[in-house]
Symmetry: C2
Subunit: 270 residues, 2 copies
């Protein structure tokens, strides 16, 4: 069904990591318009408390709603883990899609042994959101989870391959995969991590499946829109950042795979 | 001169890094009371724009002034670089001491060749504050500067020694010290970096002097107080954090070298 001039889809993240999700969304929905908001004045969310992440997420959603969006994608694992229900309660008429439920579903579908490894930020792993989402789909699944905080800084620094990236990956991941009954699937539970996939792959046994929630989230958004989506032309993306539009554009292009230009907006934290 | 019941000295940082400065302050002024504020809801400052860092710094100063302080120590290189003059303009009667001027003075005093290397966050290095402060003391000094963003995450993760810390140090520092006319002094221009000193030392030529601005900042505070300071008893420290008091206490004890208990406060960002 072709419907033109639909309002855009809003996407937010603490910074640039969510651009891996936006990239997948644009591949799935090339004719749609998007507004992407990176809350760079307050990034990262991953080391902050759930209460603070909820407050920031509600403020990001309000800023996007002020620009008329018809659907909200929370392209940040930490915010999806902490704030999804608060966002749905505050905005009952707005479809809100996070990255955790689609990632958990993809992992359960991919794993033969139903022993699944999840890596993410301190906030995502500590809050147990992936563990809950996976158990909601398969009560008997086993989940082994670990926070890999340094991956975020490495992705932002652009140190995505080479010996240091591999050594960091080895230090985080080898303990998870050394036993005979180790997981057969690894969920990249942070939107920064997909740019490190090659380095992560070098330290994993060859049969491990890697699940990145970007593509599965995009598929969930397509389902949410019930195919009521634009099909003709190339959609437009509006880029917003709460701080440092130049840095956002520079670091962001690593994640997006193409150049971008951002506008700075203010968010008032009350 | 012994004066009891003086108001405390206020100290703020984006998070835990400034605890290396507080530790030096307590060594220099053991009987003084301190209030330390870690703006953990918005850390790190090092990748944010100068305008945002000025706004956050003014808000931190206001929160400390509301608790009656008699002197303000900006225990963060990024905030010292961006916000010192704004803080002095806003609070003309309040002594405000940053970490950059004392660090620059210590480096100029330590260097024989007057070729000085400075490492810090993107914000500190990009803003050129150390370069200006060193040139203000010696116009003919040479400064070689580099941003070492990953050091912050490594310090927070507790990966302060071992092969990964050394490999990261080598990648950042070897290019600065490989030539015959390399610097003879290295300024640790971020309060997170002193906990990495041992790893940094392993990749430097043996004759390089390392300057950490914590001790020199403490000496500057002692001078500022004109010896009007308490001399008897053991002072008290009040710990405040804008987010995650438990995480602040856990990560902070690495930097402080002793346990601490923090209270969470709200800062309104207007």
């Amino acid at each position: 069904m072709k419907i033109d001039r639909q309002p855009p889809i809003g996407v937010f993240d603490s910074g640039v990591g969510g651009l891996t999700v936006l990239r997948a969304l644009r591949l799935a929905l090339p004719a749609e318009d998007f507004i992407y908001l990176g809350d760079t004045a307050r990034l990262p969310y991953g080391t902050k408390s759930p209460e603070t992440v909820v407050r920031y997420s509600l403020q990001c959603a309000a800023a996007l709603l002020a620009r008329r969006i018809r659907c909200l994608v929370v392209a940040c694992n930490t915010a999806s883990a902490a704030a999804l229900s608060a966002l749905r309660v505050r905005h009952p008429a707005l479809p809100v899609i996070g990255v955790i439920e689609p990632g958990a579903a993809a992992a359960v579908a991919a794993s033969q042994s139903q022993h699944i490894a999840v890596i993410g930020t301190e906030g995502t792993i500590g809050g147990g959101a992936y563990q809950s989402a996976i158990h909601g789909l398969n009560q008997r699944a086993r989940v082994t989870a670990a926070a890999c905080s340094l991956f975020v800084a490495m992705a932002e620094e652009g140190w995505t391959d080479g010996p240091i990236a591999q050594a960091v990956a080895r230090r985080y991941l080898e303990p998870m995969f050394k036993n005979d009954d180790a997981p057969d699937t690894l969920v990249l539970g942070c939107t920064h991590f997909p740019v490190l996939t090659a380095s992560i792959r070098t330290v994993l046994p060859g049969h491990i499946r890697i699940v990145d929630s970007a593509a599965t989230t995009a598929a969930a958004v397509v389902r949410q829109l019930h195919n009521v989506t634009k099909t003709a032309g190339r959609g437009h993306v509006t880029w917003l950042a709460t701080d440092g539009a130049a840095r956002f554009a520079r670091v962001g292009s690593t994640f997006l795979g193409e150049p971008l230009h951002a506008e700075r907006i203010e968010i008032i934290d009350l």
